[in-house]
């Protein structure tokens, strides 16, 4: 049986003090990952003696714009993200990703911070957020530090967060209007869409030249990373110079160079290639007009 004491904080300051003075504390936000893991007695949970409920910390629920960035409070739910005009205008492909998550009940309760921190290889917000070069603000009683999301997740269900820290801000740089993002996903079933594969592509195209591209598949590798070899193949090319049939196998080559051949490779290879091809086609379609 999993036994624990329940603690709660209404203010960030209290949460930081509790994290500092208690040992083996598990943070609880929307609970849509943790309560499932508790029910299934999942090994992923690790040992913990306390649950610290942060779901009522109002100061961590906001979406704000600064001159250079958009800042999201970690306790924003997927529904808040979807309903935010700012996010819809700036990063529509992030909204596309959020809309594919679970069901309304899951989106109403599950949080952005929880999705990131759970560090599932299949977390749907992580690929688009990595493509956007998202930074995280981590806070503890000692102060704040900033970590790129790419460095925060260090393995499947593993992060570089210290036991006395929590995510207090998700910081997305603003992007030029020449950027266009796509998010694609193959799920098992619509209602419970723990992705088997997903893919975020963010491309900057100017006068038909791909000046920048960031390609981040989810569930293809132990944790989502940018496929930089593939990116380098594409950057600097004109759209009409890119032959999709030639370039698509490179995405699975890069996947296999990271994971090796696995039991799932025969399925993931063609599926990832097909997702990538579809993604690139929709990017080309936008810029050909």
């Amino acid at each position: 049986m999993i036994e624990y004491e329940f603690l709660k904080a209404k203010y960030l300051g209290n949460a930081l003090k509790i994290l500092d003075s208690y040992k083996n504390v598990k943070l609880l936000a929307g609970g849509t990952d943790i309560l499932v893991d508790i029910h299934k007695k999942s090994k992923r949970l690790g040992d913990f003696n306390y649950i610290l409920d942060i779901s009522n910390i109002e100061e961590l629920k906001y979406i704000e714009e600064t001159s250079q960035t958009v800042e999201i409070g970690p306790l924003c739910t997927h529904t808040m993200l979807i309903e935010s005009e700012l996010i819809s205008n700036m990063y529509p492909f992030l909204v596309t990703a959020a809309k594919t998550i679970g069901s309304p009940q899951i989106r109403n309760r599950g949080t952005v911070g929880g999705n990131i921190s759970n560090a599932s290889p299949a977390a749907d917000l992580v690929p688009p957020l990595i493509a956007l070069k998202t930074q995280l603000e981590l806070s503890s009683v000692e102060g704040k530090r900033f970590v790129p999301l790419e460095k925060y997740i260090v393995g499947p269900y593993k992060t570089s967060q210290n036991p006395n820290e929590l995510i207090t801000k998700i910081i997305i740089p603003k992007i030029d209007k020449e950027y266009f993002g796509v998010f694609l996903k193959i799920g098992r079933r619509r209602a419970v869409n723990i992705a088997r594969l997903n893919l975020a592509i963010l491309a900057k195209v100017k006068q038909n030249i791909i000046e920048d591209i960031r390609i981040v598949p989810g569930s293809a590798t132990p944790y989502p990373v940018r496929f930089t070899n593939l990116e380098q193949e594409i950057i600097g090319k004109r759209i009409d110079q890119i032959i999709l049939e030639k370039i698509t196998p490179k995405i699975s080559e890069e996947m296999i160079s990271i994971t090796g051949e696995r039991w799932s490779t025969p399925y993931k290879k063609p599926a990832l290639e097909a997702l990538f091809k579809r993604g690139m086609e929709s990017i080309f379609a936008v810029f050909n007009n």
């Binding site: 709660k8 849509t32 029910h39 069901s103 209602a191």
Partner: protein
């Protein structure tokens, strides 16, 4: 195990309760408050049978610890019937034969109610999205969608 004192509102009535750290909202509603419309299905957020409305939004009561509540407002299917009269949505489920075994029905009613409260004239697509987290093994959904459509404001006023 510590006991936690929580205060919240259920179907409009204030409740002050003692709960254990592991007690889910599902357990509190069914066992402490005897609100048996809230059904326990999968326990892991996949079937929607335990759906209630929390602060205006449909959520799975199997994925909320009651100790997390703090002045929040919860509504269950028991709140729909007023003075012995069924809510139009409930009546529509009967009229459209949207109920067979009935196990999924309270959860679907709550998902539909949360939608209609926000959006009294949902499109068919919006209705489908609202109930995508509720599994029904019996009806095939068509009757459920029709029942919900029939109580949209437009449909009601054209009757």
């Amino acid at each position: 195990m510590n006991k936690i004192s929580v205060t919240f509102y259920v179907n409009g009535k204030k409740e002050v309760l003692e709960v254990t750290p592991k007690e889910r909202l599902l357990d509190t509603l069914r066992d402490q408050l005897k609100l048996k419309s809230v059904k326990e299905g999968c326990d892991v957020g996949e079937c929607g049978a335990c759906t209630v409305i929390l602060n205006g939004q449909a959520v799975h009561s199997c994925l909320v610890l009651t100790a997390q509540l703090d002045g929040d407002e919860v509504y269950t299917t028991e709140s729909l019937e007023k003075d012995g009269l069924l809510d139009p949505l409930q009546q529509a489920f009967i009229d459209h034969q949207a109920v067979q075994c009935g196990f999924c029905t309270p959860g679907i009613l709550m998902s539909a109610k949360a939608l209609l409260n926000k959006n009294p004239n949902p499109t068919r697509e919006e209705i489908k999205t609202a109930i995508e987290g509720n599994l029904c093994r019996c009806t095939g959904y068509e009757q459920i969608i029709q029942a919900i459509e029939s109580v949209s404001e437009k449909k009601l006023s054209s009757r």
